[in-house]
């Protein structure tokens, strides 16, 4: 790592430039991935898994440095990238539906989706709604009926901030199941899915909203009961036992895509490098295994296509938030 850095430095000031020869037009000198959450969250997972895959596949020659920048539902990291690292070629930032959600709601003050470049996705994680394993509630419809009778009796816990993606999924489901004033549905924000599940186990909150990958370990250990997965149809493998919301008559799909954005003024070569690298990771057999092990469903979008996708979902969420009454 040190020698690479030294080479690049000398290359820059044109001393011994013969030493630095690489196959790519661009190769990051010290690749860095910002996880806009604390360690252990979904974004953190994205950075670390992809960073490791890139290193294993020799796409990058040194370790991907993962920096955790939690706060503001990703807004802190977003502002940081836009304002401080706007031309950093070595940087990618983990993003997900949550990023698009908050951009759509204007929750990153002064920031819009056009201030960064969107690189690509590495899969999608479907939302789940669950309760403690010993809860008397056994289906999503039962839970929603309980909310209809007494909205204050159910507290949802999730890893995103109020109005964030985890919160929005619940509101969507509530709306689809006929609850008119969804603002009455109570939501408590925790620092990440794991902390939210722990509060379910502790019994301070009654229901969990999060992603399938966050719930998996706790379902296996028998602490959490998944009432519904917000996917168009049942997933394969270990997730096959989760009933979809759709089959319970509540037609909601909530896919949390996972991917990356990069600084706006990154060089064209660097942008292409990252788009290609993410693509190669996605295409590899190892990544298929990682996706399977973590409950990620396929979603393969890169470059301009991904940019359009994000724009569309930002628009969708914006109109949805207006419809529900979250924003004006």
């Amino acid at each position: 790592m040190k020698s690479i850095r030294a080479l690049c430095v000398t290359g820059l000031i044109a001393f011994a430039s013969g030493g630095a020869t690489t196959a790519f037009a661009f190769e990051p000198e010290s690749p860095q991935c910002i996880a806009p959450s604390g360690a252990g969250g979904g974004w953190d997972f994205t950075c670390r898994q992809v960073g490791k895959a890139m290193q294993d596949q020799k796409l990058i020659s040194s370790t991907m440095r993962v920096v955790n920048a939690a706060g503001g539902g990703g807004g802190v990291a977003y502002a940081e990238v836009v304002n401080k690292m706007n031309d950093d070629n070595d940087l990618i930032v983990a993003a997900s539906s949550a990023t698009a959600t908050r951009l759509a709601q204007g929750a990153y003050p002064g920031n819009t989706m056009d201030q960064v470049r969107w690189v690509g996705t590495i899969g999608a994680d479907y939302g789940v709604i669950g309760v403690a394993a010993d809860s008397p509630v056994n289906s999503l419809t039962e839970l929603m009926d309980q909310i209809k009778q007494d909205p204050s009796s159910v507290n949802f816990a999730g890893g995103s901030a109020v109005g964030g993606w985890d919160h929005l999924k619940v509101l969507l489901a509530a709306k689809k199941s006929g609850i008119s004033d969804v603002r009455k549905v109570k939501y408590v924000a925790f620092d990440g899915g794991a902390e939210a599940v722990v509060q379910i186990m502790a019994g301070t909150v009654q229901a969990f909203t999060g992603d399938a990958s966050e719930a998996k370990g706790f379902v296996e250990s028998g602490d959490l009961k998944v009432l519904a997965i917000l996917a168009p149809e049942r997933l394969d493998g270990e997730f096959a036992s989760f009933p979809t919301a759709k089959e319970q008559g509540i037609d909601v799909v909530g896919a949390n895509w996972r991917g990356f954005y990069a600084p706006l003024n990154m060089s064209e070569e660097a942008y292409d490098f990252w788009v290609n690298s993410v693509g190669e990771v996605y295409a590899s057999a190892e990544w298929k295994k990682t996706m399977e092990a973590n409950g990620l469903a396929p979603l393969d979008l890169r470059g301009a296509e991904f940019e359009d996708f994000v724009r569309a979902s930002v628009n969708d969420i914006e109109s949805l938030s207006k419809e529900i009454g979250l924003i004006k």
Binding site: K52, G73, D191, T204
Partner: protein, 511 residues
């Protein structure tokens, strides 16, 4: 029980290889150095060395051994600069300055270092046993703490401040409120709105407590030296005595009950996610002070005041591994980094870790034991060397400390803005010292402010805005009771003490 012991033996089988021992040695050494350097603490120490673990291509167990050795090493090392320079090497070592510095000034630097080294060992050693036998049980303790209980716990920490850090309750309260107010700067993590940022994006992510701690302690110390340089030249450094480099037996005997109690307190504080080592050392110190400080010697170089926070914070370091391993919830900044490390190695901590990866868990626990003994063996002989730092003339030592502070901050954040904020904290620290306002509560406020507020708001959301939820469970009522007693008792004690002083001092002697 027997099963546990045999698993542990298997763990030692994994950990007792030449490579692992060498890594443990390297980790302990680097950790001690990192812990002693102002600005670098256990969490960024571990973060810094993660790339090293990767570039060496280590398998999961050896990599974890390296990093946990760094973790424990840094917890040990933090006390060194606390005692010698009045600058906490990291935040859990903050409380150690209170009695460590007076001891060093009395010429007992060697004793203070050796004693605190032993206390660190004691705390960490028994906390590791706690981890071995009680982890599944303790997870249930962590589950008793909902947002309301956490909030009460933080109130408890601040309520017991007054008696600890200053003779003036109002100033201690001011300092705590100031620290908490500083913590409010930045984007609100519940709703995403920026607060007290004055339009400055740099303030959006808040004030890093490392910037605050290095500024308030290290830089203000440099300013104090600059201020008093004329009087320094003659008296200081040359006359300093090293003292013994081993603690006398009577000191060990006198501090033994303190060690046991603090280990217990620290361990439980560590088990609670979010509370962490700082709260562990803090609670250990303040309880010990209220329990045994009859002659009012705490804060004036009482060996028990050195033992309590060190046993407490090292025990908390062990305790913090319980929720991290068993629930996947990091209890402190450092365990967050360790958790990240595990995830990068494709090991998911959580309820199934003990079943799915027993080799990793027990290898890790064995590594902790090895690291402990290695640190004890490493630290006691090194005391003599550490103390010699004091022999460096101030006019070389303090510039070095100042520059290390800058590097520590800049190396982590790469931000000029942070450096400026740090200088501002240095000036504020100097002014507060002049006014006899304690600095420890300020740091504690910066450290715990956000957690305290978020838990209050979570509790209030759950209760629909009914403040009664804060006193709804027997546990929270218990914590509140201790908090109230802890707040009121020192006021009465102070009054009694004042009366006693008045009796001793003649009436004419007015301040």
């Amino acid at each position: 029980m027997l099963e546990t012991l045999s698993s542990l033996a298997d763990g030692f089988g994994v950990a007792l290889t030449f490579q692992c021992l060498a890594l443990a040695f390297l980790g302990c050494l680097l950790g001690t150095v990192i812990g002693a350097l102002p600005g670098l603490g256990p969490s960024n120490g571990v973060a810094i060395l993660i790339p090293l673990a990767f570039s060496l291509g280590l398998a999961p167990t050896p990599a974890l051994i390296l990093l946990t050795s760094v973790y424990y090493g840094a917890m040990y090392g933090g006390r060194i600069s606390s005692i010698l320079l009045n600058i906490p090497g990291d935040e859990p070592a903050m409380m150690t300055t209170l009695d460590g510095v007076p001891m060093a000034r009395k010429g007992q630097a060697g004793e203070a270092l050796a004693l605190s080294g032993f206390a660190s060992f004691f705390g960490a050693f028994f906390a590791t046993w706690g981890l071995v036998f009680l982890a599944p049980l303790l997870v249930k303790v962590a589950l008793l703490f909902g947002p309301a209980e956490y909030f009460a716990l933080f109130v408890l920490a601040f309520a017991t401040l007054g008696g600890v850090a200053s003779t003036n309750q109002a100033k201690a309260a001011f300092a705590a409120a100031l620290g908490l107010a500083i913590a409010m700067i930045g984007v609100d993590s519940q709703t995403g709105v920026p607060r007290f940022s004055f339009g400055q994006v740099h303030f959006y992510d808040g004030i890093d407590f490392l910037v605050a701690i290095v500024g308030l302690f290290a830089l203000s110390e440099v300013f104090v030296f600059l201020e008093h340089k004329s009087s320094l030249k003659k008296s200081d450094t040359s006359g300093i005595k090293l003292g013994r480099i081993t603690p006398p037996l009577w000191m060990l005997r006198k501090t033994f009950p303190t060690m046991c109690r603090s280990t217990l307190f620290g361990f439980f504080a560590g088990v609670l996610p979010g509370a962490g080592a700082s709260l562990g050392s803090f609670i250990s110190y303040s309880f010990e002070k209220q329990l045994v400080d009859r002659e009012n010697t705490f804060g004036k170089g009482d060996p028990r005041g050195v033992v309590a926070p060190e046993a407490g914070n090292n025990a908390a370091a062990g305790g913090a591994l319980v929720p991290m391993l068993a629930l996947g919830v990091p209890g402190s900044g450092t365990t967050a980094v360790l958790l990240a490390m595990l995830l990068a190695l494709n090991i998911t901590p959580g309820p199934l870790l003990f079943q799915n990866n027993p080799d990793v868990v027990w290898g890790l626990i064995a590594a902790l034991f090895i690291g402990n003994f290695m640190l004890l063996a490493l630290n006691i002989p090194l005391v003599g060397m550490f103390v010699r730092v004091l022999m460096i003339p101030t006019h070389y030592l303090m510039p070095g400390v100042a520059m290390i502070s800058f590097v520590g901050i800049y190396g982590i954040s790469g931000s000029t803005f942070d450096l400026i904020v740090m200088v501002v904290f240095g000036v504020v620290g100097w002014v507060l010292r002049k006014l006899d306002v304690p600095l420890v509560p300020v740091i504690l406020g910066v450290l715990l402010g956000n957690l305290m507020e978020q838990n209050l708001r979570r509790a209030m959301t759950i209760s629909d805005g009914d403040w009664g939820i804060l006193f709804a469970s027997p546990l929270s009522i218990g914590i509140w009771t201790v908090a109230v007693v802890g707040f009121i008792l020192p006021i009465f004690m102070a009054r009694r003490l004042r009366r006693k002083l008045e009796r001793e001092v003649t009436a004419s002697d007015v301040d």
